[in-house]
C-alpha cells in the first residue's frame, strides 16, 4: 500500500477520534440551547470544573485550601484519604447537579425573557466565575487525571498495539491510534445513544423535548419549566464531566481544557445549534478536516499550527452558503 495514502488514512482516523471529543463538548451546548435558548459559553469551563472536582475528590484535597490558608494562616492541604474513582464520579455528578440548580436559581431565573445576547453574556460571566472558583477550590496547577475501575484497570494510555500489529500484517503499514481515543469514541457513542433513549422513551425526556419545542405550550400542559431547565443543565454538566475526563486523561487537567469550548463553537455552526446528530457529524467533520488540512496543506505550505483557525474558517465559509448549518432548522423570518 502506498505510504502517503496510508499516512493520510491514519491522519483521517486520528481526526475522527479528535472529532468525537469535540462532539462531546458540542453536545452539552446543544442540550442547553434546545431546551432554554441559552447559548452556554461556560460549557468548556464546566468541563474543566468537573474534571478538577473529580481529581480533587479522588486525591482528597481540601476545597479552597489556599484561600483558607491565606486568610487564617493555617496549613491544610489534604484530608489524607483516597476516594475510589466510581464514588468520586458519583460525587462529582452530585456537585454538577448542585451547580445546575444554583445556576438556574440564582442566574437564569432572573433573566427569563431577556434577549439571547444578554443570556449569552451572562454565561460568559458564569464562565469567568466558575474558572475562578475552580482555581480557588482546587489550585490552578496542572493535574494528572486517571480514572480506575479497580486496581490496574484504569483508562488505557498509549497506542493500541493490537491495531498496529494487525494493520501492519494486512497492509504492510501499522496504524498508530491511541487506546484512549478508542475508549473515548465508544463512551461517546454510548452517551449519545443513552441521551437519545432518554429523550425518546422517558417521561422527563418527553417533557424536555416539549420544552425545547415550545415553552408556553409545554407550560400549559403542566410541564415544570424550572425543573426541566435544572435537568437540562445537570445533563449538560454530566456531559461536561465525561468530556472533562476524556480530555483530562489525554492531556492533563489544566486551564486549556476550557478552551475546547471555543473549538466546539465551529462544530456547532457546522451542525446547527439545535441538532444532536448535527453536533456529532459536525465534530467529526471538524476533527477530520483540521487534521487533514494540517497534514496535507498546513504543515508543508503554511508553516503549521493551522489547527488554531482552520475550524473557524471552515465554519465561516460554510455558513455563507448555508446559514443554518447542516442540520439546523430552516431560518424563517417573519416581520
Amino acid at each position: 500500500m502506498n505510504e502517503q495514502l496510508a499516512f493520510t488514512i491514519e491522519v483521517f482516523a486520528n481526526g475522527l477520534m479528535a472529532g468525537v471529543l469535540y462532539a462531546l463538548v458540542a453536545l452539552g451546548f446543544v442540550l442547553i440551547y434546545k431546551a432554554s435558548g441559552i447559548f452556554n459559553y461556560a460549557q468548556g469551563v464546566m468541563a474543566l470544573f468537573a474534571a478538577m472536582t473529580l481529581v480533587g475528590i479522588q486525591n482528597g484535597q481540601v476545597p479552597f485550601a489556599h484561600l483558607i490558608n491565606a486568610i487564617f494562616g493555617t496549613d491544610v492541604h489534604k484530608f489524607g484519604w483516597h476516594v475510589h474513582s466510581f464514588l468520586a464520579i458519583l460525587l462529582t455528578v452530585g456537585v454538577m447537579i448542585l451547580l445546575a440548580w444554583a445556576v438556574q436559581r440564582f442566574v437564569f431565573r432572573h433573566l427569563v425573557g431577556q434577549e439571547p445576547i444578554i443570556l449569552f453574556m451572562a454565561t460568559i460571566g458564569l464562565a469567568y466565575f466558575l474558572e475562578g472558583v475552580a482555581d480557588l477550590m482546587w489550585g490552578s496547577e496542572l493535574k494528572a487525571l486517571d480514572v480506575c475501575a479497580a486496581e490496574g484497570a484504569c483508562l488505557p494510555q498509549g497506542m493500541n498495539m493490537w491495531l498496529e500489529g494487525t494493520t501492519y500484517e494486512a497492509f504492510g503499514y501499522g496504524f498508530f491510534i491511541d487506546n484512549l481515543d478508542i475508549v473515548a469514541s465508544i463512551i461517546a457513542a454510548l452517551l449519545v445513544a443513552g441521551l437519545v433513549m432518554f429523550a425518546q422513551y422517558t417521561k422527563q425526556g418527553r417533557a424536555m423535548r416539549a420544552v425545547a419545542d415550545d415553552h408556553q405550550a409545554a407550560l400549559s400542559v403542566g410541564v415544570s419549566l424550572n425543573f426541566i431547565w435544572i435537568l437540562v443543565w445537570s445533563l449538560a454538566g454530566f456531559v461536561a464531566l465525561v468530556a472533562g475526563i476524556m480530555w483530562g486523561a489525554k492531556s492533563g487537567v489544566q486551564f486549556s481544557l476550557s478552551l475546547i469550548a471555543l473549538k466546539a463553537l465551529p462544530v456547532l455552526m457546522l451542525g446547527g445549534f439545535t441538532s444532536i446528530p448535527g453536533a456529532i457529524v459536525g465534530g467529526l467533520i471538524i476533527g477530520v478536516g483540521e487534521k487533514l488540512f494540517e497534514f496535507l496543506i498546513g504543515a508543508p505550505f503554511l508553516g503549521g499550527a493551522t489547527e488554531n483557525w482552520f475550524a473557524y474558517m471552515l465554519a465561516l465559509l460554510f455558513l455563507v452558503f448555508r446559514p443554518q448549518g447542516l442540520f439546523g432548522e430552516k431560518i424563517i423570518e417573519r416581520v
Partner: protein
C-alpha cells in the same frame, strides 16, 4: 436642583442640536476636558500613567469602536483582539517603513511614517480588514456571526505569529517600537516622559469620542440603529443593509485599530501577538461595553474605567493590604469579574450608563422628588 435645564432656551437649530444641549452638561464636559488637558499632565507620575491613565484611554477607544458595532449596529463581534493586532502590526510596519517584496527581491520600501500617521494608518488598515471579515455579516446573524468573528480572531493571531514579514524577520517573533518623536518630544521607546504619552493618547481618545458621537447621532448612526432594532424593517424603509453593516464594521475596526496601534507602540512598547491580543482581550473589551452600557458613548468610557480600575483596586486591597499571594488574588479577580457581570446583567442590563441616567433624573428633582 443640582441638575436642571430650566432657563436653557435654544433660539437656533444649531443650539438645539448640539451634543450637550443642557448648559450644565456642557460646562461639565468643558471642565472634564480642561482638567484632562491642562491639569492632569502636570500632576502625573509614571505609575499613574502606566497602570491607570494609558490603559483607560486606550481601552476607551477600543470600547468606543466595539460599541459602534455591537451597541449601535447590533452585530456581535468577538474578534476585537485580532483587530487590535492588525492595528498594532500595521503601525509597526508603517513606523519602520513598509517593504514590498516580489519574487525574493526587494521591490521598494516606503519611507518611515511619523508615529502620528503610523497610528492613523494602523486604523486605516484595520478598517480594511474589518470590512473583509464583516462581509459574512450580510448572511449570518446573531450567534453565528459572533462565532464567525472568532475566525478573524484566531486567523489573524496565527498570521502575525507565522508570517515573519509582519515582524520584520526578527528572531524573537516580537515587535518592539523604535524611538519616535512628535514635535521633538519622544512618544515611543523606553525613555518617554509620562505627560507626553498621556497627551498623545488623550488626543486620540478625544478625537475618537467626538467622531463617534457625531457619527452615531447623524444619518449613519440612525441607519445602524435601524438595522440593530430590526433589519428587515430597516431594509423596507430604505436602509441599505450592505452599506450600513459594512460602514459599521469599518468605523468600528478603525477605532479598534487605533487603540491596538497605541496599545503596542505607546503603552507596551513590545508585543507578542498571542499574549497581548488573544481571545481574552476580545472578551475584556466586550465586557467593558456591556458593563458600561451598550449603545452609549459615555458607557464606553465608564466600562473601560471600571474594568481598568477593578484589577488595580483588587491588587491594592488583596496583595498590598491583606498580603495574600498574587495567584489567589488573580483567581478572586476572575470570580469577582464574573459575578459583577452577572449581577450587572440581572440588575441593570443597560449598564453604568443607565445608572448615570437614573442618577441625573434623581438629581433634577432633588430635593423635592414629586
Amino acid at each position: 436642583m443640582f441638575y436642571r435645564e430650566a432657563g436653557d432656551f435654544s433660539t437656533t437649530y444649531a443650539e438645539d442640536q448640539q451634543t450637550f444641549p443642557i448648559k450644565f452638561d456642557r460646562y461639565r464636559y468643558y471642565l472634564v476636558l480642561f482638567v484632562a488637558i491642562f491639569i492632569v499632565p502636570f500632576v502625573l507620575n509614571d505609575y499613574w500613567v502606566n497602570s491607570l491613565m494609558m490603559p483607560f484611554l486606550i481601552y476607551s477607544i477600543a470600547a468606543l469602536g466595539l460599541n459602534i458595532l455591537v451597541g449601535y449596529c447590533g452585530q456581535v463581534s468577538l474578534g476585537t483582539g485580532g483587530f487590535m493586532a492588525v492595528g498594532a502590526y500595521s503601525c509597526y510596519k508603517f513606523m519602520t517603513g513598509v517593504d514590498i517584496w516580489w519574487g525574493g527581491e526587494l521591490l521598494f520600501r516606503l519611507p518611515e511614517f511619523n508615529i502620528f500617521f503610523a497610528v492613523i494608518m494602523g486604523g486605516v488598515m484595520t478598517a480594511f480588514v474589518g470590512v473583509l471579515f464583516g462581509l459574512p455579516s450580510l448572511r449570518i446573524k446573531g450567534f453565528y456571526l459572533a462565532v464567525a468573528t472568532l475566525a478573524a480572531q484566531f486567523f489573524l493571531v496565527w498570521l502575525f505569529n507565522r508570517v515573519s514579514w509582519f515582524y520584520n524577520y526578527s528572531a524573537s517573533g516580537q515587535i518592539s517600537a523604535p524611538e519616535r518623536e512628535l514635535f521633538g518630544v519622544l512618544i515611543t521607546g523606553p525613555s518617554t516622559t509620562p505627560w507626553a504619552v498621556y497627551l498623545f493618547c488623550l488626543f486620540f481618545t478625544i478625537a475618537s469620542a467626538v467622531i463617534a458621537r457625531n457619527l452615531t447621532r447623524g444619518a449613519a448612526g440612525r441607519k445602524w440603529m435601524a438595522i440593530r432594532d430590526m433589519d428587515i424593517a430597516a431594509e423596507i424603509i430604505g436602509v441599505n443593509p450592505l452599506k450600513a453593516k459594512l460602514t459599521a464594521f469599518m468605523v468600528s475596526s478603525f477605532f479598534i485599530g487605533i487603540s491596538g496601534a497605541l496599545f503596542f507602540s505607546v503603552y507596551l512598547g513590545a508585543v507578542e501577538v498571542g499574549e497581548a491580543f488573544g481571545i481574552q482581550k476580545s472578551f475584556l473589551v466586550l465586557f467593558m461595553i456591556i458593563i458600561g452600557g451598550l449603545g452609549s458613548i459615555f458607557g464606553s468610557f465608564a466600562g473601560a474605567a471600571f474594568l481598568v480600575l477593578l484589577p488595580v483596586a483588587l491588587k491594592v486591597v488583596g496583595v498590598d493590604w491583606l498580603g495574600w499571594p498574587t495567584d489567589i488574588v488573580a483567581h478572586l479577580q476572575l470570580v469577582i469579574v464574573g459575578l459583577l457581570i452577572i449581577v450587572f446583567l440581572i440588575a441593570e442590563p443597560h449598564g453604568i450608563n443607565q445608572l448615570w441616567r437614573v442618577a441625573k433624573e434623581k438629581l433634577r428633582l432633588w430635593p423635592f422628588p414629586h
